[in-house]
Each structure stands twice: as C-alpha cells, then as structure tokens.
Amino acid sequence: MADHLLEVRDLSVRFHTAQGIVNAVNGISWHLDRGETLAILGESGSGKSVSASAIMNLIDMPPGEITSGQILFDGVDLLKKSEEDRRRLNGKRISMIFQDPLGHLNPVYPVGWQIAETAMAHGKPKDEAYARALALMERVGIPDPKASMDKYPHQFSGGQRQRLMIAMALVLKPDILIADEPTTALDVTVQAEVLSLLEELQEETGMGLLLITHDLGVVAEAADRAVVMEGGHIVESGTPRELYHHAQHPYTRKLLAAAPGKGEMRDPASDEQPILRVQNLQKSYGSFAALKGVNFDLHAGETLAIVGESGSGKSTIARLMLHLEPASGGKVLWKGEEILSKTPREMGPLRRQLQMVFQDPTQSLNPHMTVFQIISEAWVIHPDILPKSQWKDRVAELLEQVGLKPEHALRNPHQFSGGQRQRIAIARALALEPDLIICDEAVSALDVSIQAQVIALLGELRDRLGIAFIFIAHDLPVVRDFADHVLVMQRGQVVEHGTVRQIFEAPRQGYTQRLLAAGLDSDPDVQAERRSQRLALAATQA
Amino acid sequence: MKHSMLWAGALLATTALSPAYAQDSAVTIVLGEEPDLVEPCMATRSNIGRIVLGNISETLTELDVRGDEGLKPRLAESWELVNDNTWRFKLREGVTFSDGSTFDAADVKHSFDRAKSDQITCEISRYYEGIEITPSVVDEHTIDFTTEPAQPILPLLLSLLTIVPSETAIEFTREPVGTGPYVMSNWAPGQSITLERRDDYWGEAPAVSTANYVFRADPSVRAAMVQAGEADIAPSISAIDATTDMDASYPNSETTYLRIDHSVAPLDDKRVREALNIGIDREAFVGTILADGTQVATALNVPTTLGWNADTEARPYDPERAKALLEEAKADGVPVDTEILLVGRTGNFPGATETYEAIQSMLSEVGFNIRLQMVEVAEHEQYYSKPYVQDQPVLVGAQHDNSRGDPVFSMYFKYHSEGRQSGIADVKADDLITRATAATGDERVALWSELFGYLHDEVIADALLFHMVGHARVGNDVEFTPTIATNSQLQLSEIGLK
C-alpha cells in the first residue's frame, strides 16, 4: 500500500556509545506526501533527526544500527536498496539541509561549484549544472549571484549560507526536502525570511517538506502536520492547531507551557540610586565601530534585558564591563566608582560583585574539573568569602538552590545535560555572592522546556537574593516575562529603551516592531496574524 | 613528481660518468676519504699520497718497498757525499712536466723552497726541521744540498720531496703538475678524481691508461664495491670483510701501542709498567678481533726498519706475575689503585673499540683500576700531544706509521724528552737518539737497535701492542699486490691488467 510518497514504518535505531547502547528511536512511524509539510517536533535527544539520517543513509554503522522497520519511498523499502541506489536518490529525489550551514558547507570550495556539484554528481554536464546553480542562487535571493558563484562560504552571512544550502538541495528539484533545524542558529528576522522562502519554493515545486525543529513557533508558522517526539518515541501527532488547543500528551502540554512570552509582565518599582551607570560606552575594532556610545542605568535588584540581533554589539557591552576586552571610550560607574580604568589588580576584589553566565554551558565549564572544583574555585580565588571547612556544605546548598543534587558535586560537566550544565554555571556565579549577574545569551542554547526552567530559576534567585541582572538575548519573547527594562540594540546603537511593558505593548521604533513581528508564536492563529503584520511591515518599509 | 625524476636524470647525466662505463685499461680505486687537496707538497698525507706519489709527482729518490734494494734513483740518477755536509745529486735528463716544461735543477730548488715556505703549510716540510738545509744549483742537471749539522740520510729524506715546476706559485694548487706518468684530468668534488696516462712520460708507460678514484667512508661498502665490480681496488678494507679470495693482507707499517706518561704516579713505577705489559694477552687478539698476520710488537717501528732489534723479545702474558708486581709496588706505597684513564680513538683502526674494551677488561682482571674512554679525533689529540693531562694517570692508545725505513722519523718525536708525544724523559735515550741521528752506516744501525732494546727492556717506555696488517681487496681483472707502502702510496704503474 504505497499510497504515501515517503513512509517510515516502525523504525528503530540504536547507537553504541561510551555509556552503552542507546535506543535513539523506537518503532516510530510517520508519512509525508507531495506538497505537504510535516514537522517533527522534539528537544535535543528526542531522536527527532534520526529517522531523517536513516532516510539519507547518513548513520555511520557502527556505532549506529537499524534494528527494525522500513523506509518506503515510492513504495520501495530504501533499507533493502544497495548503497549505490540510495546514493542516486540522495540530492536527486530526496535532499536535506542542516542547521549550522557554515559547518555543512565545504570551507575550501566556491559555493557555485558546491551547488553545481549536486547536479554533476547525478550526471548533469558541467555547463548545465552551473547554469542551474546560477539560476537557483538568484532564486534564493543571493545578491549579485554571478560574482557570488566564486565566493567561499565564509564570505556570506548566516542567513545567506542557509539560502545557499537550500539552493544546493533544490538544484535537481527533489520530491522531498528534509530541513533539519534550518533556522535555529539564525536571527529572528532572518528565520522568518528563510521559512517563507521554503514555503514559496514548496509551492513552486510541489515538493514534500520534512521540517525537523524544537521550536513550536516554527511548527505554527510552517507545518501542515506535526509529530511530537520524546525519548525516541512519537508521543503525539496532528495539525498544529489540534496540538496547540487539544494537546493530549503531558509532554506536549509541558512544551506548550514552556513556550516563552505568555506570562505576566513586570513593572519596575525602584527609584533609589542606580548601582550601575554606563555612560557613552564605545568600542571599535580598527575602523569598525562595534559600539557607538551606549548609555543606561541599572538599579539594585532590577533586570535589564539587552536585545538585538547578531552584530548589534549587545555582548560587547558585557565583555567591556568585565574587562574581557579594553573599551575604546566611555565610563562604567559601579556603585559610583569608575571601573573601566582600573588595573587587573584593582579589579580583582571587585570581580566577585560582577559575575557572568555564558551562552554555551558546555564550553564555559572546564571539562577537566569536577562540579565541586568548579564551584569552589570561587573561594580559592577569593578566600575571604568562605573558610575551607564550609565549602562542602555550601556547594551542596548551592547545587540545591539551582535544582541539582548535592551528590552531583563529584561528577564532571560532560556527565550533565545542557540545562544542568547551565545550572552549574549559575551556581558558580552565585558562589561569589555577586550583586550583579550578566547573562550573555544564557538560555538561547537550551531547549524551550529547559529555557523556561532556567529563567524561572533566575527570577526566583533575583527575588530571593536581590541580585540585579543584565540579560542579553537575541529574541524578545524570552525576556518578556523576566525583564524590568528592555534595551533594543542594532548595529552598535541603542534603538529603543523602555520598560518591558512599553516595549512589548507600544514599540515606537520600526526595528522593534519588526523584531516583535518576526518572533514566532506557538499559537497558529496568533502566528498567522503576526505573519500578515510582518508582510505589511515589510511592504511599508521596503 | 615524474618530472622531478626526469630532471634528476638530466642532472645526473651532466655529473661525472660512472666507473662502470669508463673504457678499457681503466681502473677504479675506492678510498676511505676524499683528499681536501691534490697538492704534491702534502703527499705525505696518505689519502693524498695514494693519488699523487709516483703517479702525478715524482721524487729524486725512492725507497724500494718490493725488493730490498733500499734507496733507488728516480728523478735523480745518482748522488754522492761531496763533503760531510754536502750531498750532490745528478738529475735525470729529458724529463718533462705534464705542463710541457722540462725538468731541471731549478725546479728541485723551487720545490724545496716552496715546501719550506711559511706562506703555506706543506706537510712534508716537517721532515726537514731542526736541520739547516740549503739547496744550490750547480748546473742544469746537478744540485747540491748543504746541511748543518751533517745529515747522513738526506737522500732518504729527499724521497719525500715531490718535485714541482719552478713556475708553481707558493699557494696550494688544485691542478697539480708533475713529472709522473699520470696527469689529473678531472676532479668532481665529492664524487671522483680521474688521472690520465701521459704519452710523453720519460719512463716506460704503465699499463693502466685511466685511473678513477672514488671515496666511501664505510669499509664494508668499499669491499662491497669491488665485489660488485664497481671498483677494481680497495686498498684498505676491514679485516672482518676480508674473507674472499680477492683479499690480500699486508703489513701496513702501522704500530699500535699504549703511550704511557711516565710523569704521573703510579705509571712512574717500572713494576707497574711491566705489569701493564704482561697483563695484556696480545696473542689472544690475533685472528680474533685483529686479523691473522698481525704481529706482536717489540718496537714502535716495523721489523723492516733500519736497526730493528731482533733480540728484544715480547714479554709473555703472565697475569699472575702482573698481580704480584702490583702487590709489590703497592707494598712500597705506589698508589696502584688510582684510576687510570685509557683513551682510545673511535675508528682509529678496524676493531679499535673492541680491542680497547678487551684490554680494559684484561687489565682490570690483573687488578688495575682502568676507565676506558673512546673519543673522536680532536679530543684524542688533546691527550696524545703535549702538554699532557696531568690530573690523572693516562694511557693513550694510538697508532704510529713509519714506512720510511729509518727510525729517525719516529724516535726523536716519540721518545726524546723534547719530543711532542714522548712519554719519557730519559737522558740515555735522548743521547742515543741524538747520536744515532747523526751517525751513518753500521754505527747508525747499532745505535738504533741499542735504543730499541733499551726502550723495551730497561725503560719499559710504553705498552707496545701490534704491528698491524691492512687488507686490500683487488678485483679479478687487475693484478696488484699491496705492500707495506700501500698505506701511504699506490703507484698505478704497479697495477697490471689481466
């Protein structure tokens, strides 16, 4: 009964890993037809990408191993076909694009050639292949396609690279396009553009689109149907609307609940002296001005969100404040005293008051240290905080504070999941009992559910310990329920500065409006609305 | 890659052509090291002498190493003692140099002055030191040498003086000109030197028309080359490789010995020195580490040398007595337990290291406290020549080569209290040396052999070890029998072709 273009039946894949055998997917089944878009929704480790890799024959065996199931394409079981036959399908009838296009494009070849190669690999003559490549680069909206043909991946922006990937995948007009987290690494505005590009192309070619994502918003925006995966199982499936309004499975509900930007907004209520004043802060690399004079104040116990897309200079502010880079100009007054001009020695004692939580918890924790060492290092450096005798108890206390177990203290970072690692990073920051914690994209690398938990944790700490936060993020919804003030940045400048309510309910600047519009909402209906807004905006501003 | 191969080929084509392709009556001779120069006045250096002596350059007189005719005429037809201090040489006529100029007395004078000049350091000049020698041209073909003091063996000394034309500048040359049967036709540094036969040679033309010299450091490679037919003669190969019927051994006039510095205790004690001598089982080396035919030495010079003393007998190996002697010395308060340093030179001769290792263990057996140290040549020189290392007793293992037939070339230098490498300061020895040097005829013979006996039996000047043999490998299509002189020269005229 080959009534579907592509059908996965009872597929089970397992991997041999350091920790033994892992069943990545267990007997999952789904199908996809021409012209429709199926979303596989799941968080990291849910096995959402495994079936795709299986279809494309990209699972290395070992360590991978397909233990059961069929993959029917046009009614034929791919798993029974020869390597060569499957190669012939790849790129010709089934194509795939990936997250992180920079890594997935070969750094040492011109993009033009890489796109054309898809065609050449399937026997198209060189000139025709290049002709198609050029046409597609034009179609996916690469500026000056002719010249761009000879450029290399590193010479393009993130969004353009993803467009190039798409072009590469569509050279031979495949029947199916698999997009694995195609927009995750991208800025919100770019994400929206890429998604709509995919839709247009789908309409043109009538291909089936398999969209693998962790983002409910993406599902709401683009999918016709969706399956929700957890721990290698499909827990629920249906149209976005069904899933949003009548979610059956608790996990699905959890996901929906976790989606940011739904809770109550805060109203700042402090009027005493600010603990931090940033005045005309500037940074330039050679001739390029990354930060063009930024000003803001921060009151004790308050949270300031700094929002902007990549290259807006939001992280630079943090790095300058903490002496990770020298500033080119301006002042930073911490409790009244200027700290930019301080020497490392003078800075030493102050550092414990200003702490930072980094974006990628995997990298910000030293893999060679145990959790205990990582946290207690704070007191090795600042012995006056705590006598050695109390370290053990304090570490346990901190771990519990951030929702981990005391016995975790003896493990190494790699034995934790991303979210847990970020909690450890937070515990490390707390160990110094700081007055201000700067969170640089502290949650953007985390799954939505984890994101929600971590933000909740931070909020709780703020209320309990009265710590002030600077919360740096690239999309607005995340900060909506958490911040008191919001600073919107673009190209090294503050575009708009206001209370969270003002920013979200009455954005004054076009850029802010566009940001808001570009943010994807998990409610299909809201999202549909947003979409029309976005298009309207684009029209007016174009 | 292919290309680079081709280029390499091209490059090679331009370089010296391989011996294998040279025409008939050509021989290839493989030597241990390439000479830095091909300079007649350096001919006493063996790697130069082998190429130059008797081939490119000739001397007035030459020592007969095959028969026993003693000193034979070469460029000089005859010589006589005009008075005590003056020798007169009659020169051969009708001899031309390879550059066409004719040979006459002026050339001899110039050659001598050039050799003695202080603008270049000619090795052969060292044989004329300490004597005032003035050559004076009598006529075109007669020359007098006046010496102060009288120099009985001047004709022998002149067997070392290579004759160059009077036009030769007083600086080292790379294009040697001589009266010899051959002329150097090509020198590709690092690869080969080629000699061509001269048609206008005064004497009878030798059989070999072209001689090609190549250089390989490793003895086994040299041996292999002859075996593989890439070379015809390898004048010195290692005894270990000398196992085929192509190989001939020859006394190479080298004598190995342990030089003892008598000035440092306990080696200042005669009993200790005797113990040293009888503590070494010399016989055991022959035919094992060292080649068959190696002789146990009783003198620093080989038996064919003038005045060699047949009555002195090698001391037999006697460990018991050696121990006893040491005990005795010890009883008299001689510090026999002091560590004695035995210095050997790596690669001095084939099996050098093994030899010294064996000696060390033998001497330790009889109760010496010996430390062996093998050193490279420069360091060896530090120990070998004065001023000596004084802080501890030292035995220097060394080799001495004198194929010139007269002890004069060795004795002053090795045993006179003034000698640069003399371990002894003995009045009687000094006196004997001075007298013998000045003496002639039987008196000279008597004095030398007295000295030999005295040094060996009375003084026990040093621990004499062996008269060494060298090994030559000669290819099947040439005939050549190595002689005692093969170490220092190799006259192509002595090579026959089959």
């Binding site: 890993t17 920790q19 030493g348 550092r351 910000s364 | 055991a284 290792e357 064996a358 490279e376 360091e379």
Partner: protein, 313 residues
C-alpha cells in the same frame, strides 16, 4: 548531531563513572585494541629490564671471552644468555641487550621529559604573555631548530665529557622546539575558550589560569607527541653512535650495539640484528600506543575502542 544528542541525555541519566573504575576502563580500552595491548605489555617488560637488568647482569654483560667470540645464536651450551649469541668480544648478547635497556631508556626518557617540561613551559609563557616575550621565545625556537644537532653534540660532548647526562642534554635541547611550538599554538587557541574567560571573570590569577585551566587541556596532545618523540630520540641516539659522536664504550646502548655490530652484518648478522630488533619493537610499541592514545583521548573517536571493549570484554 544525532549521536551526541542521544548520548547527551543518557549521560545525564546514567550514573557517573566512578574514579575507581578509571583504570579498569583504560585497560578495557587497551584490550579493545589488541596491538596496543601487546605494545603496552612489551614496554612494561622493557621497563622492568631497564630497572633490574644491570643489578643482576652487569658483570656477565661486561665479561669478555674471546673464545665465545661471535658465538652463533640459538645454542645453549654456553648458557641461557648466549641464546641470542655472543658479540665480538664473546659477551652474551641477551645479557647486554637487557643491561643496555637501562642506558637506552634513561637517554630517551631523560631527553623527552626534559625537553617536554622546558619546551611546554616556554610554550605556555610564549602563548599567554605579551607578544614581545612570545616573539623572542619563538625566535629562540627557530635558532635551536636550525642549529645543526651534530655540531651541538660535538660542542657539548667536547667541552663536557661524553657521558649519558650530556647526551641527554644534547638530545633534550634539540627536541625543545617541538613542544614549544605545539604548546604555544594550543594555548593561543585554548585561552579563547569560554571556561578560561569564566575564570578571568572570577578574578583568577594568570598562574592559576595557565596551570589549572589551560595546561590540563593541552596535556594529552603533549603526551602523544612525547611517546612518538621517545622513539625518535632512541633512533637519533643510535645515529649519533654510528657517527662516532655520542655514547661510547664501555657504556652500552642498543644504538651503540647496532652501530658496533654493523661491520659484522655479513659475517655475524646477529650482532646488529638483535639490538636493532629491540629498537624496532620498542619504537613500534610506542607508536602503536600513541596512536591508541590519539583515539582514547579524543571523545569523538573513543567509542571505537569502547565498542571493541564491549565486544571483546
């Protein structure tokens, strides 16, 4: 990607590997790579020889006996230690090889450890401090690199006497640049990592950052190089002996034995063969072990061994 995702969650769930089981795990991973396992065993034997050999066999190895000169191998009537034959002075080869192991290992280990410590120390400084100091150090490295090692050997061994210690000195100096350059390159990369930044934010001293945070990360690389270098140094030492520089009798190393035995290759092959074999096997073992380490120390490759371990263990 898929794999790491899955293993990620698993890690979070399953129990942490207890430090105790570390050794067992290493052995299991060794066992997974049979060649590496054998190599490790062989090296263990060599080390034992090096430590205890001279104690028991010194005299036998030094006793010359010209009657047993070049005694052929595989004959027992002269005693077990003549199983590999005798050398040019009739000394039992087996005994000599065992005794020589000590010097050989001392030279190699000494040189490698010394150069590794000095080299990586300089590398850390060059990588972490200001660029002027760094530049200076790098130039120094260039000089050492283009300084002909033979000349260095002659100079050192001439001015100071030729001894094991001095040979170690020579070899160590010539190897320093390798570690220096690698360390510096790695430091320049690692110092940009987040956890180093985090340490700075906490106010950690340079010393602490370098030794607590950077060094542990680059150590595996250095160790891999070291194992390879160990082999290299052994060969270098033998070449020196061949050229008549370096260690001289009555001291013995394998390299020296080979170069002394080479002239007998045609008449008594075993003189050069056995010590040569010892060198080959040791260097090979080290190579195998280091390529095993390269996988074992690389998290993305380790599974190859771990599966093996499961299959075989």
């Amino acid at each position: 990607m898929t794999m790491t995702d899955t293993s990620d969650t698993v890690r979070a769930e399953e129990d942490p590997a207890k430090p105790v089981s570390g050794l067992r795990r290493v052995i299991a991973m060794l066992w997974a790579d049979k060649l590496a396992f054998v190599a490790a065993l062989f090296l263990l034997v060599i080390v034992l020889c090096a430590v205890f050999g001279p104690m028991f066999l010194q005299d036998m190895a030094a006793k010359t006996n010209l009657r047993a000169r070049n005694a052929p191998p595989f004959e027992l009537e002269r005693g077990f230690f003549f199983i590999l034959g005798g050398d040019a002075l009739g000394r039992p080869l087996l005994a000599r090889i065992i005794v020589a192991a000590q010097n050989t290992m001392m030279v190699a280990a000494g040189a490698v450890v010394a150069s590794m410590i000095i080299g990586s120390a300089l590398g850390l400084i060059a990588g972490y401090t200001g660029r002027w100091v760094g530049e200076a150090i790098m130039r120094l490295a260039d000089v050492i690199m283009s300084f002909p090692s033979l000349l260095l050997a002659v100079i050192v061994l001439y001015m100071l006497s030729p001894s094991i210690a001095n040979l170690v000195l020579v070899l160590a100096i010539t190897r320093i640049p390798i570690y220096l350059r690698t360390t510096r390159a790695e430091v320049l990369e690692v110092r940009q990592r987040m956890f180093v930044q985090a340490a700075i934010v906490m106010g950690a001293s340079n010393f602490r950052i370098v030794f607590k945070h950077i060094l542990p990360v680059i150590l595996p690389t250095l160790l891999t190089i070291a194992t390879l270098d160990f082999a290299f140094v052994m060969l270098a030492e033998s070449s020196l002996s061949f050229l008549g520089i370096g260690i001289q009798p009555p001291e013995i190393t394998w390299g020296l034995m080979v170069s002394q035995g080479r002239q007998y290759l045609t008449s008594a092959w075993w003189l050069a063969f056995w010590p040569g074999l010892a060198i080959i096997l040791t260097t090979m073992s080290l190579n195998l072990l280091s390529s095993w380490m390269r996988i074992a120390l690389n998290p993305t490759q380790r599974w190859r061994l771990e599966i093996g371990a499961k299959k075989n263990g």
